[in-house]
Symmetry: C2
Subunit: 167 residues, 2 copies
């Protein structure tokens, strides 16, 4: 957790995936911020990301639709908070675009509220990549862990790296 | 509402106070961002702001304690989102400092979730001042209106102006 120096993490509330990958930060950044790239790696197969929209500015909209192998669609809307090119990207679904508080009350199966902090730091010719999901309570952190945060975000990262190597 | 050009307002969800005051934007900014000033104007008398802390950066903490005439204390914690000196200040209580989603479920008497957008624009020797509170649903917007948003924020602004003239 050493790379998220500016954020106070709480091991009971936060999930962290940290890996070194052999593509440079600029390509990781492109994969995270260009919709046509997002659709190719963002969801661990056999799930798909079938729509992606990016308005890359603080307060701007992140929108994506995940599709299950059975064809069920799961739309998600988030709000970008910090954008530091090739270094750090932060967004949350606790807010809607334009910083409007989201109407997200009690936790439920389809209501997982978190802020994502994606950090990338040059390491040799590759990137030290850290993805942190911070939650409002232990229940939601545990639910996110049980949904397969580490496996899922890890597998998605492998898809990102495979894509980046072709760019 | 013309000055909040970059934000899509919804008249059913948002409350706006817009006034022209005869102190310059830089003094309005100082009153909003310096804790020792905040304590002097932020709460309409006979309420008081008895504590104020400001960590003025995106993700930083805004903390203040309001005290009722009967001596009851009401602590509030928010997270700064945008800081554009002498122009725009945005914070929300939908997030805790460090962008952690706040544990704020259903609306209740002491749980009003909103994002505040404070804008100041030079007009002559004074300031066109716009304070906007954006909410997640009509109930909370209505509750905020019923709590006296316009009177309260207006009276606080008059206190701000009186203070600024002495700075």
């Amino acid at each position: 957790m050493s790379t998220t120096q500016s954020f106070k993490l709480d091991p009971k509330l936060d999930l962290v995936l940290e890996r070194v990958v052999d593509v440079p930060p600029s390509l990781v950044w492109d994969c995270w911020t260009m919709p046509e790239h997002l659709k190719k790696w963002f969801t661990p197969a056999p799930w798909k990301t079938v729509e992606a929209e990016v308005d890359l500015r603080p307060g701007g909209r992140l929108y994506f639709v995940m599709e299950s192998p059975e064809g069920l669609r799961f739309p998600n809307t988030g709000c970008y908070l910090e954008i530091v090119k090739n270094e750090r990207l932060i967004w949350t679904n606790a807010l809607l675009p334009g910083y409007r508080p989201a109407a997200s009350g009690a936790a439920s199966a389809d209501n997982l509220v978190f802020t994502a902090i994606i950090e990338m730091r040059q390491q040799g010719t590759g990137t030290r990549y850290t993805a942190t999901a911070i939650h409002r309570n232990e229940d939601e952190a545990q639910k996110h862990a049980n949904m397969g945060f580490h496996d899922g975000w890890g597998k998605a990262l492998e898809q990102l790296v495979a894509l980046a190597k072709k760019l």
